[in-house]
Symmetry: C2
Subunit: 604 residues, 2 copies
Amino acid sequence: MSSTEARRSIATVCLSGTLEDKLTAAARAGFDGVEIFENDLVASSWSAKEIGEHCAELGLSIDLYQPFRDFEAVPPDVLARNLRRAELKFDVMDQLGVDTMLVCSTVSPDAVDDDDLAAEQLHLLAERAAARGIRIAYEALAWGRFVNTYEHSWRIVRRAAHPALGLCLDSFHILSRGSDPAAIRTIPGEKLFFLQLADAPRLQMDVLQWSRHHRLFPGQGAFDLTAFTGHVLAAGYRGPLSLEVFNDVFRQADPGPAAVDAMRSLLGLQETLGSADLPPAPALAGHAFVELAADASAEPEVAEALRGLGFAETGRHRSKPVRLWQQGTARILLNSSGPATGASVGAVAVESADPVASARRAQRLLAPILPRSHRVDEADLSAIAAPDGTSVFFCRTGTADGWLGDFTETPAVGEEAGVTGIDHLALTQPFDHFDEAALFYRAVLGLEPEPVTEFAAPFGLVRSRTVADPSGRVRIALESALLRRGEWAPAVREPQRIALSTGDALASARRMRELGAPLLEIPGNYYDDLDARLAPDPSLLTALRQQSVLYDRDERGELLHFFTVVLGGRVFFEVVQRIGGYAGDGAVNSPVRMAAHRRQRRDA
Amino acid sequence: MSSTEARRSIATVCLSGTLEDKLTAAARAGFDGVEIFENDLVASSWSAKEIGEHCAELGLSIDLYQPFRDFEAVPPDVLARNLRRAELKFDVMDQLGVDTMLVCSTVSPDAVDDDDLAAEQLHLLAERAAARGIRIAYEALAWGRFVNTYEHSWRIVRRAAHPALGLCLDSFHILSRGSDPAAIRTIPGEKLFFLQLADAPRLQMDVLQWSRHHRLFPGQGAFDLTAFTGHVLAAGYRGPLSLEVFNDVFRQADPGPAAVDAMRSLLGLQETLGSADLPPAPALAGHAFVELAADASAEPEVAEALRGLGFAETGRHRSKPVRLWQQGTARILLNSSGPATGASVGAVAVESADPVASARRAQRLLAPILPRSHRVDEADLSAIAAPDGTSVFFCRTGTADGWLGDFTETPAVGEEAGVTGIDHLALTQPFDHFDEAALFYRAVLGLEPEPVTEFAAPFGLVRSRTVADPSGRVRIALESALLRRGEWAPAVREPQRIALSTGDALASARRMRELGAPLLEIPGNYYDDLDARLAPDPSLLTALRQQSVLYDRDERGELLHFFTVVLGGRVFFEVVQRIGGYAGDGAVNSPVRMAAHRRQRRDA
């Protein structure tokens, strides 16, 4: 079997719900098999036999029964008890129809540090297992009492020398300890009984807590799973690629989307391994437009703000209540057919070198394809739904049959204010979908996630992660509260930001004020502190203060930026001037901006 | 000034919201003063002068301006910049009207490991400060680059020898490193410029992350703050007791209750120091009754279940639609005047040796006192509101003027089933109020909190902490989801459990089944696993399986317990038999019970 045909499995512990909920979600997401986590089975009202039958009906194989703990290197009386325990679990496995059991390296106070004894007792267990047609996959826990590296577990398995005893390799246990996975290539493939995959962020904490609460699906964290899995496949492993992810958020999230997220992570990993048959992600060349859905009460407020920001209405859609507003290459579609929920970003559109290929790739990566109604003479835009429900369009604005043809030109009235295009977007993600969103944009659009950052905002900690194409022309900041917010949060709920670029922030701010833009006032304390922190040139400081423009600096450049008030309850604009190679989005200034938006709410 | 008069302060960083929100909450909770956290000031629309005036109006002194970072042991050019920065902050402090600035030990890459240089530069800073009437309180961060113990910060302050330079002691920085605080007594009291108090759970993680996310108010964590604060007071410290708690939950919770929680923590600490003028907590002798509020649709279901559990209706309230159901000393009041929200625990009542003193203490500890309407011939029960809104009554059931006199006796009809009393209650706490609830029961009722435990339930991790009186006769398990639940949670929301005691769980279960109690069925897989794990005697295992009774064992004894289905959407009963000194509540079996309740919901 070539690696292109590797089966994809998932441990039931990855998903929320009862066993019934989990199996349904795994099957719907297209997994080939599952690992049955013992606690899920114990709490199930189905007998082991019924679970086996149900999996078969769903088209799921059962690839592993796990975990069996604290078996080896114990005194004879404990060994006898442990063998009884194993035999009872073999009975369950027999009913389930699963032939491989995971045995974790011991953490028991009963155990002794004796590799020979461990090997001898594992040999005995394998002998008992073999008599039942079962194999034992021995795994070194990163916090195993004596055995906590894969090299050590391999020495014991080799010493035990039983055909029914092999290794289970788990990327978390190996990479969290900083072990070099290259030596996996020296292990014979037929002794690699099972492979469990998990990613994780780099955290400075107890490895057991890290493992049990913060694992992620491949592509969401900081581990190099492509290299790791490459070593395992090179050694000759032929079993499934199986996810085992303990994550506090996934454990309480709807298992349907979580299973899709999991499957997407494996498809993405297989692509980087060169073994997935996916159309490559076409190059993206920038933001084509942002569509704002606004209800009848919000529409005039947004239109007025756009005019103040220097936008002009330049087109009307031929068949829908949608107006095109434009300034430079920044295009905002204002759709007034939205439900009565104020204003929000309904769609983002990116310029794709090949929109049809972009959509085909998205579909292969399980992105929901959005049905579009359009007249025969209108452009057939390809659109998918992001995890937060936002529509993502792929388009080529410059072409003859492009989407602009759906609009009749109207004479542009109004004055410009220096906006040249869209710099980035910032979209608050639903709490349960933060990591899923980053992987979605990475896998589906081919954007690169930057590291996760956190900052203390007035109403709680905020987590942020930007995904961007290599040229930085498509850039989306994903934000979410670190803890799901409760009733106390008099801040803007799920805010969305459209950041426009300018070559001269101070001039744009001055012009926009003249045009009546509803710009956000920044308090004087901010400028006093800015003076103390960064000591900008006094004349610059005075100008920033006069225009309520915020400022930041890094080793590569400077950022000047300012904001509008919140429009229609949720959306606001930012205007950004980047000087030199400034890389971030001015997150250091976010708490000040948030407090100012809070005042706006109180004043309203 | 004696320690009984110590002023109580709170750092604005402890609370959620803008500076305006925080100051209002601190003043309402009765704090004497605040530490102004710089970020809160920077984001405020009030000028420093206006903030100072506003605090004065609220009756709050400003006791500290903080933090000033990365000052000392740097090259001359950096020193010049740092002094400029300090002078600008002195300007702000002058406007605020605060005379003490916190300077944290450096973490800067610009700094060098040179105590003499640090002392020399801090002397210079103190000289500049003194000229403005300001004092510098130097604090060793637990993760300071060179200075990270209070002993080291004291050596530097002593060497600097400036009257305007002293120490800030922070209990977290000192106790998190395991430093011995006893040597604080050797520091002259006049050099202790400030004291910051924070508790914390014992966590195995990076100390900076631990500090910035997981601090708690005194009495909520694992630190011995009584001993710590005792050393500081013995040294002659005469400043305020000031809370500085960085906590992810408090940072996003309503600041009103959080400030009350904070104040309660300081009152409790002062009591253990012998310096709070609080009436002592009267002894508690058990649960007097539990009142269930049930609407018209839930009332018959609950009454039927009570009958099935062997309860009999023994009394009717003289003036309210409340029935008393009793079995042994277990008393359930069924109040059918509740709003249409199914069934829930409306009140818990404890037997107090002195109900009036219990209520007086509660009031002093800022517990809301509930107004009670009662007729002149009815008992005047003292009641307060717990953080989850449950009423807590203090009563003496046995006395002539006791609450039972409010009920007319009715002839007891029905058969008993071996229930002897109430073993414990388990009440789900609102997410933002978990730690507050533990402190509430500790401080107000004098219950002792047991360690926090966590377990993986089908719909996410659950955190649990039991508070109990020393005799174990009053016992309340506080539970909460580790992460606030979102829309996916097809489990029982905010469940409440009333655990009854029996001397023979198997006999009670059998009898209750005969009486028609709606007992929860436990799946066979549980018993197969129980056999493998604990190998109970085969005849016991068979009986447990037949009666759907669950089992656990610890080093001191055994637990047999079983459950009803969920009644009225939220409440269920448990029946508990404790054998020997079994200490817990069978939490190991909770996931199985939760999955069974989930099936009940799906079947419904």
